[in-house]
Symmetry: C2
Subunit: 241 residues, 2 copies
């Protein structure tokens, strides 16, 4: 089994996702938020690129839908939910379909929508995600959402933790790409202070400046939930692994 890794959705390897099982990682905050919502019983999360697309789809879905997303970290104007995982409690999301647009995370899903299988991963569901991927019986690709097509430390470290867990799980030989090796090394350097890493990285500092510091503690939780968001017919639904 080959484990490859893209440090941003612009990596050329994302165009070769078709035969692989792919995990998208956007720790601060899209994949953390998606996993939290599904853990709390939401019926599915539909990632879409634009505010207009989100409004249109939410209108079609009617009362069952929640319109969610951010621009510049803040809740989009007129939307019901932003991109803070804390907003996605059971009382708010249970039974609902969430139409979600974020700046980087939803673009990463779109970049690999042709994947054989597609899941969302973060620190808070990393072991469940590793188990799911280990059973996929496919070559794997882990895609860091990054920021505006660039490298983000937090996604690289979380992706590296996923690589690390895959190596622990897999009985078969695993071949790592350079990027997968590097991500695992970055996890090894930062593993003992994930919250400090989130507070010190570029986007983490920006999130704090914009008033969302409390989100970082949620994003740093390891294996708080065991839900794997899996893409089925355009929406991410909850599976267990």
């Amino acid at each position: 089994m080959i484990v490859d890794l893209a440090f941003s959705r612009r990596d050329p390897v994302c165009r070769s996702a078709s035969g692989r099982a792919v995990a998208v990682v956007d720790v601060i905050r899209a994949t953390t938020t998606i996993a939290t919502a599904l853990h709390h019983g939401c019926a599915g999360v539909v990632p879409v690129l634009t505010l207009k697309e989100a409004r249109g789809l939410a209108r079609v879905l009617g009362a069952d839908a929640l319109l969610a997303g951010e621009r510049g970290a803040a809740k989009a104007a007129g939307f019901e939910l932003g991109n803070s995982p804390a907003e996605y409690g059971r009382e708010r999301v249970e039974g609902k379909v969430i139409v979600l647009t974020t700046t980087n995370g939803t673009r990463a899903f779109r970049a690999v929508e042709h994947a054989h299988a597609l899941i969302a991963a973060g620190f808070l569901n990393v072991s469940a995600a590793a188990r799911w991927l280990g059973r996929a019986d496919r070559d794997l690709l882990i895609v860091c959402a990054g920021k505006h097509g660039r490298f983000c430390l937090e996604d690289a470290v979380a992706a590296g933790m996923l690589v690390d867990q895959l190596l622990d799980l897999c009985a078969r030989p695993v071949e790592l790409s350079d990027a997968a090796v590097a991500a695992r090394q970055l996890f090894s350097v930062n593993r003992h202070d994930l919250l400090g890493m989130l507070r010190g990285c570029e986007w983490g500092k920006e999130i704090v400046r914009r008033g969302f510091e409390a989100d970082l503690a949620i994003c740093a939780q390891v294996n708080a939930i065991d839900v794997v968001p899996v893409m089925r017919e355009g929406r991410l639904i909850a599976e267990h692994a």
Copy 2:
């Protein structure tokens, strides 16, 4: 001073090189070879993209020029030199202008040709490169050549060593991007066995398979020379720092 870093020439930040001093890193092997050639008295290295462009320019330059480059690691057909630093001894290159085309390194130079200043760096001239950049009095960008627009471990580690040396040198406050922080962390993990890292990375293994294992020992040498290849009017010439 801001130190940013691109893990490949496809990073969007390469389009913003114009105000910055930029170092291109292609450890295996272009920047190692270029620094070696200039150390041995070559009059200049002109990086060009295509075999055709290389042949045309060498023809115009006449007897003073050497036609050099690789495709698939091997010397290009009809060329006088390949991309092995061992080929670039003083007896061969002194006083000559080398027209060089390689698969990734020369493309990286092209991607940032609009930089305020542009140099080449590898392990073998890392301290000289750091001193040169430290004096540039500009925000810095370190560009890993990578491979076909993708991440390469060896370039990331060498770039991280350059970041590390810059931090040691600079009296002024230095702000590192996430990518610069990560590269420095990757250097910290691999610093005690650079040759092992070169032998174990994807492109290093490929270079060994293709018969160029001896090159890796040259590429792994730290500070063997103190020449900085600096781009002046389209050619890299030797400066000392």
